[in-house]
């Protein structure tokens, strides 16, 4: 069964450093999403992406965040200058055109020191 994959599974970084989280969505899906879950809190929407542009972004998704689909298979989330409060589990999801079911990857646990 096709699945969404994410790398790395864990990442530790120093405050102020740039990180790139990678996702490979299911191959025929065209809608892509990033969510995050700070420890002990709800899963929160960050951004949705379709047709090589952002469809919607939350208030969390400020200028420090960016997304890209560099090569037709990967979908990346970049945090330019990490802050302590960026420590969280980051989930990538994808869905088919006009479908509502989003399929999630296993997540990347980011720890900012």
């Amino acid at each position: 069964e096709p699945e969404v994959t994410q790398t790395p599974s864990h990442q530790v970084t120093q405050m102020g450093q740039e990180v790139i989280l990678r996702c490979v969505p299911i191959s025929n899906h065209l809608y892509f999403y990033w969510y995050r879950q700070i420890l002990g809190q709800k899963v929160e929407f960050l951004v949705s992406f379709y047709n090589n542009e952002i469809s919607e972004k939350s208030e969390i998704f400020d200028d420090q965040f960016s997304v890209e689909r560099p090569d037709g298979s990967n979908f990346t989330l970049k945090i330019r200058s990490t802050k302590l409060e960026d420590s969280a589990m980051y989930f990538c999801a994808s869905s088919e055109p006009l479908q509502e079911t989003q399929y999630f990857g296993p997540g990347t646990r980011l720890l900012v020191l």
Binding site: V43, F45, S48, A93, E100, T101, F104, G105, G107
Partner: protein, 112 residues
Amino acid sequence: AQSVTQLDSHVSVSEGTPVLLRCNYSSSYSPSLFWYVQHPNKGLQLLLKYTSAATLVKGINGFEAEFKKSETSFHLTKPSAHMSDAAEYFCVVRDSSYKLIFGSGTRLLVRP
């Protein structure tokens, strides 16, 4: 705005007994509702979804949920709990822009 409220942060049941995880939703239109499960150190797996078809929805692993508009509820049930059901369960509503809005989660503990 759409929202979901999961009424219990923790539920503990004995193996072989029924499971009930409660969820109430708020939506200005007919909602699309989902239950996802997260096992320890795993991703979010779709259990089942309601998208305005049958009000009783069957999912994987013997779980089902009933959409009750009059009560604005979408409770998740299973007749007989198994040890492998121990996980965190999220009730989710889809926003009009397709983003998902998650509840705070219910941690299910299954006692032997």
